[in-house]
Symmetry: C2
Subunit: 224 residues, 2 copies
Amino acid sequence: MSLAYYYDLMSQPSRALYIILKMSGVQFEDCPVALRKGAHLTEDFKTNINRFQKVPCINDGGFKLAESVAILRYLSAKGKIPEHLYPKNVVEQARVDEFLEWQHITLRITCALYFRAKWLDPMLTGKKPSEDKLASLKTHMETNLAIVENLWLESTDFLCGNQMTVADIFAACEIEQPRMADYDVRAHYPKIRAWLQRVREACGPHYDYAHQFVYKICGSEPTN
Amino acid sequence: MSLAYYYDLMSQPSRALYIILKMSGVQFEDCPVALRKGAHLTEDFKTNINRFQKVPCINDGGFKLAESVAILRYLSAKGKIPEHLYPKNVVEQARVDEFLEWQHITLRITCALYFRAKWLDPMLTGKKPSEDKLASLKTHMETNLAIVENLWLESTDFLCGNQMTVADIFAACEIEQPRMADYDVRAHYPKIRAWLQRVREACGPHYDYAHQFVYKICGSEPTN
């Protein structure tokens, strides 16, 4: 049986895993899930696809698995992810894992909450957030963007060394999100700007393909 | 050179990793860090211990690593964590990883934010949160506790099957936190109550040792 990949390119980790699967040459059954239409909220989705009703998730010959980072590790353990993207060396892998664990309640949540409050919720509900709330969310996001700029990118071309790994792909997909909410990360953080260009180039055509809807909402591709 | 473990037993992932190290028989240099005294905020800590200025973290013969889950995986790769706690079988490990990735922006953040708003911030600043804010944080926390009760513990004794793994230890340490803020998880969720007792028993004396300050603040051990 084949590997089925359920995703929505509007979801940051869905995009990251999509790029990783494509770069790794993993064959998969393409299963887009339209979150905006609530396709993940049905009983059928809950019972047959993912009990947590989120994307991304996979079904690998009957084995259902959620959580992008867990999926990445599972596919790596099955020999499907090239070592340059997710190292097998214990110390190098630990450094990538450190980023993958760090990002959840720092970079990921703060970029996502800013995007949601500034763009998604007003579009869905017609209500604008208070200026205070938005300012607070922006501060939290910028705190973590500054950590990427000043610590993760302190002295290397990529987050975990001088080669691109999955850490960079996950991070870039999170950092592209607030651009849809008119926050230009590239204008504020020069190291992030140069790094995003390196990641985009290293991902080949898959980066732009995965971000096609992001670019559409932004009105343009990033200028680099 | 030995393994140095930096931790504070008031930190949930510090407690989890402490219990896991003890249950695994890992020898380590004991390096408690008093967060309440700002011991992690010094330049020395940032330069020499953890650039992110958080606990837990390790220094393994010169290799500095942060993020509890990354540390667990690193020690497992080095053969220091028994297989029953963190499985080597690809499918079983993926199920544990699924929980470890799921918990960050669901269970962990919502229990932590409720604890912080209800107990920690008022203690530090003298200011109480608004009733609206507290109600909202409680709802978010209960949404995720209900997922533990109804999905993760749907049909098994532990989160990832009928044997305790590191997933249970990480989860229990998060779920003990709001008890300090007068939220009695055990009274609301019968499956979680019974599961917490199983985890506590399976961890031997290390569970109660790691939670000694939590129990002190709560005024008692949990009644089970």
